[in-house]
Amino acid sequence: DVKVTQSSRYLVKRTGEKVFLECVQDMDHENMFWYRQDPGLGLRLIYFSYDVKMKEKGDIPEGYSVSREKKERFSLILESASTNQTSMYLCASSPDLIPSSYEQYFGPGTRLTVT
């Protein structure tokens, strides 16, 4: 079974703090994704990575950055946390070059509260 793990289930940070959210997948997937989930908005893509050290902006990248130094690990960074970044953050991964699939596998999520 594919397993995607996230470093924390719940996190509380103060405004202005630098925040790191970590995600690890164990299936050697090429692609990894970070989403935020807010009520009534579904999931929105923040950033994704298709290879080590490669990254692409998603739909809402402002206020975030990412790092992918190893294939299995994808980090989301909030350089200076703000209250409007309080949300559920979901990491996902998918294998490459399966044209009929593109299924993504999700971690359990990190609920971040910024006070």
Partner: protein
């Protein structure tokens, strides 16, 4: 451009009665379509996917969905609801022109199952 609209934000059903979750998509190309489920405090799990094969797709836990190109719909159904079906459901579309397999999520439908 592509988008996905879930027509109901909340659905309440009695245990043992049918479930219908409605989803419409817009896409300039033949899309790949998915339904994901998220149980409370859990990550997203794939229920089923349509990738241009059979238009009636069967998924896990007795769910199925029918792709209707003429109606641009991909509604999710289950003949008999179970208490364990209480969850949030997301209709998702992927556009073939995106080489990275990015997905676009609907806003979600919260399903409540009453005894």
């Amino acid at each position: 451009a592509q988008s996905v609209t879930q027509l109901d934000s909340h659905v309440s059903v009695s245990e043992g009665t049918p479930v219908l979750l409605r989803c419409n998509y817009s896409s300039s190309y033949s899309p790949s379509l998915f339904w994901y489920v998220q149980h409370p405090n859990k990550g997203l799990q794939l229920l089923l996917k349509y990738t241009s094969a059979a238009t009636l797709v069967k998924g896990i836990n007795g769910f199925e969905a029918e792709f209707k190109k003429s109606e641009t719909s991909f509604h999710l159904t289950k003949p008999s609801a179970h208490m364990s079906d209480a969850a949030e459901y997301f209709c998702v579309v992927r556009v073939p022109t995106d080489s990275w397999g990015k997905l676009q999520f609907g806003a979600g439908t919260q399903v409540v199952v009453t005894p």
